[in-house]
């Protein structure tokens, strides 16, 4: 089994050949599914825990505090302790809640996140689904989560939950437009909806550099709309603590609450990963046209490290938004989308088409 940190294609291929030799084709495929599923589960659980810790530390730094620092060195085991606490909590259900929908909602939310994570290319060969309509698939499944949020709010039989869910529905439906249109701008530029082709197209220069003005506008719009779609501050009015207790997950406790919590952070990861892949080159190292030696040095850093460096930078920017800006009112949120982001996006997509047609790019 050839393990190469720079290219996982051989590793995955060897695993596939090894399984196909020893099992029947059906069994081999099933085992591969299980392996991929378990890998994603472990990754999501660990990265979710890490993101919660990172959020608390970053938030503390923004507020000139220290953040968690008691459980383990620098408090790194804080989120594990929190998670164990959540696991041991009693699952309480309101008496008049809709039993079936109430229990279904957390799974819909987390399944939507898992579906979206499948198309992300982590490194060469480290991508479980490589559609030719990857971007389309991603925008489609990432908005399934809102159904879970609406169900959670509706079935809890609680006014705060319902108001939170309705706000969240209005918000995600609106901002889905901006996310899709800004991604579409980059699809126009890349000429493909396949994530592997999009990443491959950024070998010489990342799209945010080669696409110059329209790409930068699309990046900013995507960051704003993506933040709104993950229900994070300053767009966190679906769970506005000061107004709605905890919004749509007011009535959830224990592991079901943990699922909503985890899904929120996976969505943060997905939005950042898509931004990193489509605008910042995914796992592609930083390359500048003719600086051969510079490009060569950059190639030494493994692609998976590049990917996570970019993702974490985007995550940091989104956290920066959250801990700087005050929460918007619901009418301000809709104004921002329908009166500002959408027109800007539509003009921008025209601009990008013009840039592509006149070949005015690097």
């Amino acid at each position: 089994m050839a393990f190469n940190i720079y290219d996982f294609t051989t590793l995955t291929h060897d695993i596939h050949v090894g399984l196909a030799e020893s099992f029947s084709p059906f069994l081999a495929t099933t085992i591969e599914w299980v392996i991929v599923g378990v890998v994603y589960l472990i990754f999501v659980a660990l990265f979710g825990l890490f993101l919660v810790y990172a959020e608390r530390k970053v938030c503390a730094a923004f507020q000139q505090r220290l953040g968690p620092n008691r459980v383990g060195p620098w408090g790194i085991f804080q989120t594990i302790a929190d998670f164990i606490k959540l696991l041991m909590k009693e699952l309480i259900m309101p008496r008049k809640a809709d039993w079936f929908l109430y229990n279904l909602a957390p799974f819909i939310v987390i399944i939507a996140s898992f579906l979206a994570i499948a198309v992300l290319p982590f490194a060469p060969g480290l991508q479980s689904l490589d559609f030719d309509i990857g971007v389309f698939y991603l925008t489609a499944v990432s908005s399934v989560g809102v159904i879970g949020i609406l169900l959670a709010g509706w079935s809890s039989n609680n006014k705060f939950s319902l108001i939170g869910a309705m706000r969240s529905g209005a918000q995600i439906l609106s901002y889905e437009l901006s996310v899709s249109l800004s991604l579409l701008t980059m699809v126009v530029f890349a000429g493909s909806m396949q994530f592997s082709t999009i990443v491959e197209g950024q070998r010489d220069a990342w799209f945010i550099f080669s696409g110059h003005i329209p790409a930068i506008i699309a990046f900013v719009v995507f960051l704003i709309a993506g933040t709104a779609e993950t229900n994070r501050g300053p767009f966190d009015l679906a769970e506005a603590e000061s107004e709605l207790v905890a919004g749509f997950h007011t009535e959830y406790s224990g592991i079901k609450f943990a699922m909503f919590f985890l899904a929120e952070y996976i969505n943060l990861f997905i939005i950042s990963a898509v931004a990193a892949t489509v605008f910042l080159g995914g796992w592609m190292p930083l390359h500048f046209g003719n600086f051969e030696s510079f490009n060569h040095i950059m190639d030494f850093i493994p692609p998976i490290v590049w990917f996570f460096m970019k993702v974490l930078s985007v995550i940091f920017i989104i956290m920066w938004f959250k801990w700087t800006f005050p929460r918007l009112r619901v009418d301000q949120i809709l104004t921002l989308e329908w009166k500002y982001l959408l027109p800007i996006n539509l003009v921008n997509i025209l601009l990008m088409a013009l840039v592509v047609l006149t070949k005015f790019h690097f």
Partner: protein, 160 residues
């Protein structure tokens, strides 16, 4: 046309104000040595509270075990929740006059809200706010303190 220009300008103004906000918070996050939180029990040895911190009411005594309290009772009158009790005594001075003196300045820390009114009202500056803040004790009676030390007397030159 005018409103369209205003619309475009409002976009740039909005982005600019957001960037100003991000610069302010960015300054905090990239200067971690300026964090205000302390790691308290670890830095107990080196911890210095700030000047105006109000930990408890104390009565400073000088090297000759002399304080400035005349026993006038103004602090007792000024205390909003009755955490100060003044017990005075009469002594006969050298020239045969009767004089009112402080016997015990009793201070109930458990009732004190550290409002600083007694310190402000004290005409001779006999009581001040101390810096000590670790007041946890096993028994409530330990929170009742006598501020003037046994055997202490009023320092010379304090006018009645």
């Amino acid at each position: 046309m005018k409103s369209f220009i205003e619309y475009i300008v409002s976009i740039f103004k909005g982005v600019w104000t957001l960037l100003v906000g991000m610069r302010v918070t960015g300054k905090y996050v990239f200067t971690p040595w300026k964090h205000v939180t302390h790691k308290y029990p670890e830095n107990r040895e080196t911890l210095v509270m700030f000047e105006r911190f109000r930990g408890e009411v104390i009565m400073p005594h000088d090297a000759n075990n002399e304080h400035k309290c005349t026993g006038c009772g103004i602090c007792e009158l000024n205390c909003p929740n009755g955490s100060i009790e003044i017990i005075s005594k009469s002594v006969v001075t050298a020239d045969g006059k009767k004089k009112r003196m402080i016997d015990q300045h009793i201070y109930h820390l458990g009732m004190c809200t550290l409002c600083n009114l007694c310190v402000k009202a004290c005409p001779t500056g006999a009581i001040v706010m101390g810096q000590k803040f670790e007041h946890a004790v096993w028994d409530r009676s330990e929170l009742t303190k006598v501020l003037n030390q046994p055997g202490s007397k009023i320092s010379e030159g304090i006018k009645e």
